[in-house]
């Protein structure tokens, strides 16, 4: 379970949010909403431990995420607003190397299959610098198919740049993860229906 207690975020001189409390239990889907610049990305980066909150605590299974360190990172998957792809490597290579860094070996076939499922069969072996933005986003999201072992998914605008054909596929991935006891925190400006037992939302932008 992920628990946030009185989180406060200050970027530069600006206060983005304060006294933010929420808890996320297994099987829950949390959508973070708010206008541009309201601190959605900052909140997600905070959940990953990339950003330290100005005050407040974040706890995973009752322990502070900073203290948990590697244990927490092993439970976490983050797809940021950057795709984290190497432009000189193909989609398959990007997936393989990315997972190898996370400590898991996946075969070329498995990587190719994941990309095929997202409609990238032909582009799987091209350097990602030749792919369109939407195709790159798909490669980045294909990573999720190998991350069922991580209970917590933190996704920053997963649907951005995707065409309407792939959006349901990604939505299905998220709802499958939640159904099997996972937790998903995501931001989006699109209204994408995601089937989940417990759907919650958090609205930022209250502080002026």
């Amino acid at each position: 379970m992920l628990q946030a207690h009185r989180l406060e975020c200050i970027r530069g001189e600006r206060l983005l949010f304060r006294d933010l409390d929420f808890a996320l239990n297994p099987g829950e889907l949390l959508r973070v909403e708010g206008p541009n610049g309201s601190g959605k990305t900052s909140l997600l980066r905070m959940l990953c431990g990339l950003l330290s909150p100005a005050s407040g605590t974040l706890q995973w299974q009752g322990a502070d995420i900073r203290q948990l360190g590697e244990t927490y990172r092993a439970a976490l998957t983050y797809v940021g607003h950057q795709n984290a792809l190497k432009a000189d490597l193909s989609g398959v290579e990007n997936l393989q190397l990315g997972e190898a860094l996370a400590g898991v070996t996946i075969t070329r076939e498995a990587a190719r299959e994941a990309l095929t499922r997202l409609g990238l069969a032909i582009a799987a072996d091209l350097p990602t610098r030749l792919l369109s933005q939407g195709q790159c986003r798909r490669v980045a999201l294909a990573r999720l198919m190998f991350r069922a072992r991580c209970p917590l998914w933190v996704l920053d605008e997963p649907f951005v740049a995707l065409d309407t054909a792939v959006v349901p596929e990604i939505a299905a991935l998220l709802s499958a993860h939640v159904r099997t006891g996972g937790m998903v925190v995501y931001t989006t400006h699109q209204d994408v229906p995601i089937e989940a037992g417990e759907r919650r939302s958090l609205r930022l932008g209250g502080v002026q």
Binding site: C48, G49, L50, L51, S52, Q67, L68, G69, E70, T71, R73, A74, L76, Y78, G80, Q82, N83, A84, L85, K86, A87, D88, L89, E93, L97, G98, A100, L101, A102, G103, P127
Partner: protein, 242 residues
């Protein structure tokens, strides 16, 4: 691989954990070598720079053998040092720009091990070629065989230390504007001991002295930077991403 245990918050390292650390190290090295293979021009830049600088001096100074012999070790070392600094710009900047660095920070492996892997790959692609080329270029300075031999050993000990020390500078200046100049200012003072003992070792041999002392000090510098630099770089990278 025990070094990584310092950073990890997990209690005593078991055999399985050490195996996963080794796997992470190998994964990073392989990744960066593959990337270097795809961008050969970048890798060659360092080597070409080294060769050009070292080859220009004899042309500018003239064929006075005694002068060349005196300045040879120093020129070779200064060129190696500048070449090492040239390579630093690429160490973290690209990964930072495309977001892969963020993903590296979020892997369950200690970041210091991944940094060590990146520096190892950098040395293999930019440091090792210098070590191999150095004796060939040393011939232009009429350096005797035993001096060339010492030069190779000194460079083999010194260039990894340059990479490790430079990694701290590269990590600290990540995200700053005009990182190139800043890195030089930060890193050059720390490079000076390596330069002094490296060139000193070759000089000693040429004056008929034993280079053992200089080489041991170089080795010590390498060991210290091997322990300290990955931890310091990892801490700096976390700050850069905050």
């Amino acid at each position: 691989m025990n070094r990584a245990g310092i950073e990890s918050t997990v209690p005593p390292s078991t055999a399985a954990q050490e195996a996963s650390l080794a796997a992470a190290f190998v994964a990073v090295v392989r990744r960066d070598l593959l990337l270097a293979m795809r961008r050969r021009a970048d890798v060659l830049t360092t080597l070409v720079f080294f060769v050009i600088v070292v080859s220009l001096f004899p042309l500018g100074i003239g064929p006075e053998l005694n002068t060349l012999r005196t300045i040879g070790p120093g020129v070779l070392w200064v060129a190696a040092l500048l070449a090492a600094m040239l390579a630093l710009n690429r160490l973290f900047a690209a990964d930072y720009a495309d977001g892969t660095l963020e993903q590296m920070v979020l892997t369950p492996q200690p970041l210091s091990v991944l940094v060590l892997g990146k520096v190892a790959a950098l040395w293999l692609t930019t440091g090792l070629p210098l070590v191999v080329m150095a004796p060939l270029l040393g011939l232009q300075y009429a350096l005797p065989a035993e001096a060339l031999y010492t030069l190779v050993i000194a460079l083999a000990l010194g260039t990894p230390a340059l990479g490790l020390i430079g990694a701290v500078g590269a990590a600290l200046t990540l995200g700053a504007r005009g990182p190139g100049v800043l890195v030089s200012l930060l890193v050059l003072p720390l490079y000076v001991p390596v330069l002094i003992f490296g060139a000193g070792a070759v000089d000693a041999v040429m004056s008929g002295l034993d280079a053992g002392g200089h080489l041991s000090l170089l080795g010590a510098l390498l060991l210290v930077s091997l322990v300290v630099a990955p931890l310091a770089s990892a801490a700096a990278l976390r700050i850069a991403l905050d």
